[in-house]
């Protein structure tokens, strides 16, 4: 991905992009979002009917995806392996679930974001995006 820094898009930023198109300033970055962002926006669209209706959301979403200007980071088998476990260097009986994802008092969207963005040498984006995401909730 060269020397461009990554820009983690929040739900409201993705909403703005869907409404008005991608801002030219984001071209200085690799714009990324987690899969949670469109799912939460769609939930609002379906339950509150805003900022647009479902058909309009779908059209705008498909247009954004075709533009290839934003990367969506999803949850898959590899992400689960990197994000769910802790203390992997010890005996197998000592393997634990990563404490940050077992707290069911936090909403599931934040758990998914934590798993996806958990710092790892395997990530192609900067690991400080994890803290960027956590700061959204402070």
């Amino acid at each position: 991905m060269g020397n461009l820094r990554s820009l983690l898009l929040s739900k409201s930023q993705v909403e703005k992009i869907l409404e008005h198109g991608i801002d030219a300033s984001t071209s200085e970055f690799i714009a990324i979002m987690t899969i949670v962002e469109p799912l939460l926006i769609l939930e609002d669209v379906k339950k509150k009917g805003k900022p647009f209706n479902t058909a309009s959301f779908r059209t705008k979403w498909e247009t954004l995806m075709r533009s290839s200007k934003v990367h969506v980071i999803g949850l898959d088998q590899d992400t689960l392996l990197r994000g769910l476990f802790d203390n992997e260097d010890g005996p197998k009986e000592d393997l634990q679930l990563w404490r940050e994802v077992t707290d069911c008092t936090i909403p599931p969207d934040r758990t998914i974001r934590r798993i996806i963005l958990r710092p790892s040498e395997m990530n192609w984006w900067e690991n400080d995006l994890y803290q960027v995401m956590e700061d959204w909730f402070d």
Partner: protein, 158 residues
């Protein structure tokens, strides 16, 4: 080859825990035999067994998100029936007849067609959260598929 039946059986988080419980208790990990239980009807157990015996064109599946739900509610759902290292080993190297389906941008188109409210058998409407709808939407990504769940709302979604 499996014919005239669903080729993909999707499990939600609750059923995934029950499935893994039977799987880890089996002495034959490559070809475990699933039994009718309080969780699995005889029909479902037989469908799972047919897939395991002939997985060339069919799979047992769960969304990646089902594993997240399992971990978030570990004590409540898993109830010490299996260990963390067993779960890791399964995710790391699932049997050939099991698919861990990604939660990615492809799911959005299917979520768009799932109503936020579901009409139940008694005609009452019940709300459906995005976290529940993910399982129905993931099931829609495959033709000839069925979602096995105890959630009556999800059972109403075709």
């Amino acid at each position: 080859m499996i014919e005239n039946m669903e080729r993909y059986i999707f499990l939600d988080a609750g059923l995934l825990a029950d499935f893994l419980d039977q799987y880890f208790r089996s002495s034959k990990r490559l070809y475990p035999h699933f039994e009718k239980s309080s969780e699995f009807s005889d029909d479902i157990a037989q469908m799972i067994n047919r897939i395991i015996q002939d997985p060339q064109f069919s799979r047992i599946c769960a969304s990646s998100f089902a594993f997240v739900e399992l971990v978030r509610k570990w004590d409540e759902i898993v109830k010490e029936r299996f260990k963390v290292y067993q779960l890791q080993a399964f995710i790391s190297d699932p049997p050939e007849w099991f698919l861990i389906e990604p939660l990615d941008e492809n799911i959005v188109q299917y979520l768009c067609i799932i109503s936020p409210e579901v009409r139940m058998a008694d005609q009452n409407m019940k709300p459906l959260e995005w976290t529940d709808a993910i399982h129905a939407a993931t099931k829609m990504t495959r033709e000839n598929s069925i979602l096995v769940t105890r959630d009556e709302r999800l059972r109403q979604i075709r």
